[in-house]
Amino acid sequence: REGCGGGGMASCRRLSGAGLREVLGPAQGLLFDCDGVLWAGERAVPGAPELLERLRRSGKAALFVSNNSRRSVAELERRFSRLGFRGVRAEHVFSSALCSALFLRQRLLGGGGDEGNGGGRVFVLGGEGLRGEVRDAGLRLAGEGEPATGPAEPVRAVLVGYDDQFTFAKLAQACGYLRDPQCLLVATDPDPWHPLSDGQRTPGTGSLTAAVETASGRKALVVGKPNTYMFDCIVERFGVDPSRTLMVGDRLETDILFGKNCGLSTILTLTGVSRLEEAQAYMASDSAAAKDLVPNYYVDSIADLIPGLDE
């Protein structure tokens, strides 16, 4: 029987028929990645909204964990609704933008609120969605609301996210702040690229982080999957039991490894980035690290999970 995250290597078994009910039956909840799992671009994966509805009716929790740092969770809530998913609220959605803001709040403000010194400013390489999450966490952004005269507060963190307006000048500016060893370097996620709907790829936060790390000589603290911080955020808010929770994702190097790192059983869905052949290649590899990228189970699409739930 498949272990839950500990012990031996996962075996990438197709989930279907009786196996589906055996695996889904005991589960209290599922964590879903979003891009490539629930939707691709502006199209919901066929059957995905129905799956979420059936999970709700079965009394199983559905939470969402995404490395995409472009959107605020409020925007994501609207996106779920627009694409036909009912009943998903912002509090169910854990994006790397939100979790990076929570992480910085903890580190710079001590997890409280308005401490006297304000905790310093954050230099954000990213769009308005990310910047909004950082502001909502009570932090001040470099370049906003600075005093007209006198010194501005020191920049205590550089946050690298998905930034389609990234430039050499911003890279140089980030490095300037990072010369202070007290200034944190944080990245929302490690993804090297993201798929576009026509099969092309667009560079991810990982490529921008590599530039900042090289220029500054520092290693970034990465908030997103496969690191476990976002799971800590989920546990703090909802208290999930890893042994009764399944992780569903499309990217072996982030979603499946995240599941493994958090002690969750994992299901790979084939509607996104990773191909079954890649999972099988990791399974056949001699490297110990490769074994951690093998999912316990796979499905062609999350719609295939529906028959595993009670009517």
Binding site: W193, L196, P203
Partner: protein, 178 residues
Amino acid sequence: AALPGPAPADWAQAPLDPAVRAVLVGFDEHFSYAKLCQALRYLLRGGSDCLLVGTNRDHRLPLEGGTGIPGTGCLVKAVETAAQREAFIVGKPNRYMFDCVVSEFHIDPARTIMVGDRLDTDILMGNSCGLTTLLTLTGVTTLDEVKGHQESNCPARQSLVPDYYVDSIADLLPALGD
């Protein structure tokens, strides 16, 4: 060529030049996400038929007064990470430039001295190519750094140690006859 629209989804629709067979990353103070996008598109379209070349891997370009700006190495790393492939690096410490010099000037490494201020480029290349290496202290490297490498047990760090050093290349003058 101008990009058709403000967002990456638009940029991915811009026509690609069918004749492009290589992406060359050099120092680019106008580097941007849009350019990184286009580089990635050419590399994905061409696969192994499109070269990825970097002029060098320097992290930092020192400026006057101890300041500096990001070096070409940062931009190379961004492209390599997005494309998930390694660039061919022309510059030091790789030996390609030395091979160019040798082929034009019939250099005998055993009778040639490499003079530089940077351990991980100048001195490493010189040592790898069988040259005698001479560090000058008028640039980025301090003697303490060299001693650190010398005293380490690590072979990679040992190859950063020059054969000789001078405070400045002017110190070579007395050795040269009239």
